[in-house]
Symmetry: C2
Subunit: 131 residues, 2 copies
DNA sequence: TTGCTTTTACGAAGAGCTTCGTATATAATT
DNA sequence: AATTATATACGAAGCTCTTCGTAAAAGCAA
């Protein structure tokens, strides 16, 4: 099977992407070891997932050496943006603000982080004023 | 099959919950009509989903009349909280702040909404000061 | 060289979700 | 009463995702 446009990563694929994003191009062995720091998962399971990801276009692989090296083919920011878009639609019926309020209410953020968010809001507001 | 603790709703189940949350207790016919305003879906498909939801504990049904009436057994806020928790973990590796920044950056929020968020942040900051 | 380890390839099982066809019962219509 | 419409119940197919067993190839060690 082959894909014309890259699909959203599944949950397991996301776990793998996080390893690739954090550590750069990696072998299946390396990724599997990282995943096993979080949960138990067989080597061939990881292998299969990464092969599927290459097939889907989520990852690229270098097959020059016997040990294939995979790297992420999608960026973290873009992927999070896509996933967030979908999530806002399905869980919050499109209301990003409701999601933001929930997220701020339920999770603790440091004073510094809160200030960052406030700064972003103020920046957005000043940009609106310009129009 | 029966469930001891209520599972997370799937995407289709969420669509149905949204109808129940918005319109209150409803028949399968009513829900199916609402869903069909968004996309094509067969009546027995909706029926089956709602029966499963009742089985899972996501919905309650009143079977007194021939036309069963279903109502949500989980609240919108609680459900969104649960889904958000999971989503932050999988897509943003637990960083709610990153999610908030993305959400604010990608979706337009009205000045009024931005002010609400700012107010919430300030309230949180003042609460922190008290400690 | 012979055997052990590592790696990829392949296929398939099992689970969950979505979808709908068919059967059956009940109500409404003519 | 006979027909038509509406409702629930049941089962199963098709899809995706996850998981892993097994086989084959390539490299390493005794």
């Amino acid at each position: 099977m082959s894909y014309t446009n890259i699909p959203k990563p599944t949950e397991s694929e996301l776990e793998i992407l996080h390893v690739l994003w954090e550590h750069g191009p990696s072998s299946v062995r390396f990724v599997n070891d990282k995943l096993n720091e979080e949960r138990e998962i067989g080597y061939t399971t990881t292998l299969k997932l990464m092969q599927i990801m290459a097939d889907k276009g989520l990852a690229l692989r270098n097959t020059e050496s016997r040990t294939h090296i995979y790297k992420a083919a999608v960026s973290e920011a873009d992927t999070q943006k896509r996933l967030l878009q979908k999530f806002v639609d399905t869980a919050f019926r499109g209301s990003a603000v409701k999601l933001v309020m929930q997220a701020l209410g339920n999770h603790q953020a440091s004073p510094k982080e809160l200030d960052e968010i406030k700064a972003l809001i103020e920046k957005m507001e000043s940009e609106d004023d310009d129009q």
